[in-house]
């Protein structure tokens, strides 16, 4: 059963169209993440689901029921805000119980719910404090507690972790994932952090300019991106886009890359990944998408030797991250980033030999930015 369905939702702010016929459907118990750069409409979509802003046209259904014109209270939704939005004059206990109180839940039941949630989130010792006496991480927990107390049909999370420091953010991320696995709740979660999206989601909707550019599992979105925007947005450091010319013919395509002051590089395209659309692009320019981890140092043997083409280039910058090293090197008209193991000892100016794993490479059309193969 779909817990939430959005049909052709459109939202205008004056003359600007912020949501352009967005449609999606979420199953009960699913964790959906809306991700995209600022201004892509993800927060507006969230507010539309919550009923905080009316939509211009389209329909929103919760549990098969049309709620397009229902007030936020009638929708039975709970939301965790980026700023937490804890009621400053109330204690943690009152904050958590407020929603239940508004819904006229008897006092005994309210207390039971507060205890249950406090126990779940380990905030029992904080129950009689005011929000101003809590740290950022504790406020975050209370904000989640407030949402969990009511057991609504859908939970909305609006960038809940973006005000936390890096370490706490990772901890809370894991905790949210555990909570979801344990409670089986339906969650729509907005973030601009693609790592949060990858780690938490059952499905990811990548948004841009009021459109959903791709809706799929984290694996699909990451390894099988629909267009250059999705490919570039997901992953950090982001995917390298290299201008190349498509040569050869079906079963034996090649990508030729011209790098200034370097010999031209020819990369064979794995035959099993041919698409019919490639035929029309023979002799034309295409964009080759390679993720930093598709490069590897020469001594690592790839399973399929034919797809691991050797590349030699001078390193312009070497950035050790601890777990691995990011190398910047010239390829095509610009520079690319390669992620290699931490043992490789190179400094700027050194030449390195790298293998390119073409079995995971993707191709795009340069003008439409759509996926070619």
């Amino acid at each position: 059963m779909s817990a939430l369905e959005i049909r052709q939702v459109r939202k205008d702010f004056g003359a600007t169209r912020v949501l352009k016929d967005v449609s999606l459907s979420i199953d009960s118990g699913e964790f959906l993440i809306l991700v995209g750069p600022s201004g892509c409409g993800k927060s507006t979509l969230m507010n539309s689901i919550a009923g905080l802003e009316p939509v211009t046209s389209g329909q929103i259904l919760i549990g098969e029921e049309d709620v397009t014109w229902c007030t936020p209270a009638e929708r039975d939704i709970a939301m965790v805000f980026q700023s937490y939005a804890l009621y400053p004059s109330m204690t943690v206990r009152q904050n958590i119980a407020f929603g239940l109180e508004m819904r006229k839940v008897p006092k005994a039941e309210r207390e039971e719910a507060v205890d249950r949630v406090a126990d779940l989130l380990q905030i029992t010792p904080l129950l009689d404090r005011k929000p101003s006496q809590l740290s950022g991480g504790q406020r975050q927990r209370v904000a989640m507690g407030r949402a969990l107390a009511r057991e609504p049909k859908i939970y909305l999370f609006d960038e809940p972790l973006s005000n936390l420091d890096a370490k706490l953010r990772v901890e809370m991320r894991t905790e949210i994932k555990k909570l979801h696995l344990r409670l089986g709740t339906t969650i729509v979660y907005v973030t601009h952090d693609q790592i949060e999206a990858m780690t938490l989601a059952d499905r990811i909707a990548v948004m841009r300019d009021g459109h959903i550019r791709q809706l799929g599992t984290p694996d699909e979105v990451y390894n099988d991106p629909a267009d250059m925007f999705v490919a570039g947005f997901m992953g950090s450091p982001s995917m390298n886009f290299i201008n190349a010319t498509l040569e050869g013919d079906a079963g034996a395509y090649r990508l030729v890359i011209e790098t200034p002051d370097a010999p031209r590089l020819t990369l064979p395209w794995p035959a099993h990944r041919d698409t019919s659309a490639m035929k029309e692009q023979i002799g034309r320019r295409v964009v080759l998408g390679l993720r930093p981890e598709h490069f590897s140092e020469e001594d690592i043997r790839l399973t399929d030797q034919a797809e691991g083409t050797l590349l030699t280039a001078p390193v312009t910058v070497s950035e050790p991250t601890g777990a691995d090293i990011l190398l910047r090197l010239p390829l095509g008209e610009g520079e690319v980033t390669a992620r290699v193991g931490p043992k490789i000892k190179v400094k700027a100016g050194d030449r390195v030999d790298l293998r390119v794993d073409m079995s995971r490479a993707v191709l795009f059309m340069p003008d439409s930015e759509q996926r070619l193969a």
Partner: protein, 292 residues
Amino acid sequence: MDNVIRRRTLGARLARWAVYAVLVGMALFYLLPLVVMLLTSVKPLEEIRAGSLLALPQAPTLAPWVKAWSEACTGMRCEGVGGYFWNSFRIVIPAVAISTFLGALNGYALTKWRFRGADLIFALMLFGCFIPFQVVLLPMARTLGWLGLSNSTAGLVLVHVVFGIAFTTLFFRNFYVAIPNELVSAAKLDGAGFFRIFWRILLPVSAPIFVVSVIWQFTQIWNDFLFGVAFSAFETQPVTVALNNMVNTSTGVKEYNVDMAAAMIAALPTLVVYVLAGKYFVRGLTAGSVKG
């Protein structure tokens, strides 16, 4: 200890002392009228005629205060300003309470339940802060007559509420605009409505701006003379009008000490309000301008 690093040369120190001296001198100068009033109000009349303004009273007496309160003539009657003092409270308390409450409600609606034209309405209300009182005297008199509130305390309260709303709305709007909208969104999702959110979420955090609004309105309405003289009957006159009548009563000798005592009585409530809540006044005015 203050938190400033200063040069420790002799010249720098002398300059600082000079600054302090000027400041103290200015403060004394500013306080002088009050001192003169206070001294005069406790002197017998002979001493006032004989001595200088600043001379300390030789035989201090509270008789002028007693007379000002209960015996002095204000026009035809000689009952002091005491009764009018309470009249003022009868006008000020409801007027301050109603205008502050409506201002809070307006500020809340203008910032948290934004509707088409909210900015225009706010701009028009702001305009109300700049309307000179004299302009509305006649239309207001007609309106009060039409409402059957001429010469009544209720009529004066209405006039002050109408004029006060512009200021109180401004105060509360600017205060609430700094309160995150997400707080209201959260309460909506929790199932609270317009008044419930106002009452439970916003009012409990509004104390600083309430103090500002109350002090401002109290001072304005208490000190009002024009509306008081125009729209009140003899029985409902505020103390400012009574004070004027008393000082201008031209029968008998001019009793400066009684006049001064009456003026002190008329000024006392605003003074007390400011001394008690002045700290919060400044705090409320600057609230939101600096974080934390």
